[in-house]
Amino acid sequence: MVTTIKYREFKNKLFKVIIILLTTVCTLPLLLVLYKIFREGISAINWDFFVNLPKPVGETGGGIVNALIGSVLLILVASVISIPLGVFTGIYLSEYRNTKLSYFTLLSVDVLTGVPSIVIGIIIYLWVVKTMGGFSAISGSIALSVMMLPSIIKSTEETLKLIPNTLKEASLSLGVPYYRTILKVILPAGITGILSGIILSIARVAGETAPLLFTAFGNPFINTNILKPISSLPAIIFNYAISPYEDWHKLAWGASFVLIIIVLFLNIITKIAQRKWKVQF
């Protein structure tokens, strides 16, 4: 069979159309999910929603203040744990590129990225919840901090690797000690990239549910004690979404809306930061 040029060109065009078509289809879920969440979510939101506790079935005017406070607290504590550890590890990886330890650390980071969040939940349950004798906010924060680590480490390492070596040498040649050089010259030069990584990792764990199921657990009341169980946005969405009550679904839509807005907001911030506040060398 002879394939004419026309036939080849037809196939070529057809393929391009298929690619464009399938790509467009891929964007549909995002639009559909956002549409549904916005439509259902906005109607669920009012002042009470942000200041009230969830009400029992049948009573209107319930809110999610406990989950909001819980999520903020969980993420704050998780950040306090993971940011220093992640940034220091990232510095190590960019400073000592060819050591055995950096090889194994990078490998561990890659593996850690892929560990299912539910498995991290199990481990933190065994380590913290079992030891402390009960669910607690701190155990939830530890689980989230483990999930934040890989992206903080990676973004720190990759950002610092791109910083010209002469900057470090310039500082050292002024008689500045190594640790001050890293902390005061190298880190500030890479701050945008590192912060983006941190914010993205926060955006990711803000919606993490699985590792919280058996660590932070949940709490129908406002709690600020990190040794006690605590509620969170994703947990409240999960629990209310699978409940059979209309009122609770409404709360879940509202909570989803708030969570989506937070996640989108954090993602957009990093986009802008990466473009606007990029350090010029």
């Binding site: 891929c26 561990s108 593996v111 199990i122 481990i123 190594y178 993490e208």
Partner: protein, 300 residues
């Protein structure tokens, strides 16, 4: 020259030493952390491994009340949903990857679609599950009524569709990375021989990136295997071996999510942890293989 006293120098030397130690300890703690994960999972799985043994893999009855812990339904459910999700996701991922890595590499259209894919990845699992429960499940249910199977709505197919939406962005980001690495002169050589774009894609790009694309799909599979929340909400939580794409079922991750906090017996808890160990090992192996293929690809 600013005077530096011995005292100051001693202080600096100490800080220098401490700083390097902190870096070292941070890096090594990540390795230790992962190693301890493994040890903890193994140690806590031992009671189950010892009592249930190999039956854990092929046993089809999961009945904690009568101490029967056959994990086969969940193994089957996990593989079934993940592979189905992969089959759905592959054509879409490849299309988007070619779209972003070949057809529209720069410009506004590319930027828009890149951002959409990134946002797709940013939506939390629990929200996909919630959305699936209220939008996808009714759709599937009416489809099931139409073709005359039991209209559960929830089940393997529903979970797989949501899973595929969740893994597409992940597979795309890895695949675009390798497609953009195809040397321009290779492509230009083919174009100069009169090849069409499709022929270049088929004969140059795809063969060149085969191992990279494989790694991308493998890593996407790893993600699908461990995905928990959305699947837990959509799979139907039934402890039977799924026989069709419309059957409800259960995956390992969702069994853990559902039963972990209420697992009372020692063996019961240990059996759930053993499933966690299995997920840990499988995703670890997948990640090590996948990443090393991609790394080798980017270097060469």
């Amino acid at each position: 020259m600013p005077i530096t006293t011995d005292q100051q120098i001693k202080g600096i030397n100490f800080s220098e030493f401490a700083f390097r130690k902190i870096l070292f300890i941070s890096a090594i703690s990540i390795v230790i952390l992962l190693f301890c994960f493994f040890l903890t999972l193994v140690a806590s799985s031992l009671p189950s491994i010892n009592t249930i043994g190999i039956k854990f893999i092929y046993g089809v009855t999961w009945d904690p009340v009568s101490d029967k812990f056959g994990g086969f339904p969940f193994l089957a459910g996990t593989l079934f949903t993940s592979l189905l999700a992969l089959i759905i996701a592959i054509p879409f991922s490849l299309s988007v990857a070619l779209f972003l890595g070949e057809y529209f590499r720069t410009g506004l259209i590319s930027a828009i679609f890149k951002n959409i894919v990134e946002l797709l990845a940013a939506i939390p699992s629990v929200i996909y599950g919630f959305w699936g429960l209220f939008v996808l499940v009714p759709l599937i249910r009416s489809l099931e009524t139409k073709i005359g199977v039991a209209p559960y709505g929830v089940g393997i197919l529903t979970s797989s569709i949501i899973l595929s939406i969740m893994i597409v962005p992940y597979a795309v980001s890895l695949t675009v990375q390798v497609i953009t690495l195809v040397p321009a002169d290779l492509k230009e050589a083919a174009y100069s021989l009169g090849a069409t774009r499709l022929e270049v894609i088929r004969n140059i790009i795809l063969p060149y990136t085969r191992s990279g694309i494989f790694a991308g799909i493998l890593l996407a599979l790893g993600r699908a295997l461990g995905e928990t929340m959305a699947v837990t909400m959509l799979i139907g939580n039934s402890h039977i071996v799924p026989v069709s794409i419309f059957s409800p079922g259960n995956t390992m991750a969702s069994v853990i999510a559902n039963e972990f906090t209420e697992a009372t017996g020692k063996i019961y808890l240990s059996a759930l942890i053993e499933m966690g160990l299995f997920l840990f090992l499988v995703t670890t192996i997948i990640n090590i293989i996948g990443r090393s293929v991609i790394k080798r690809f980017s270097i060469s």
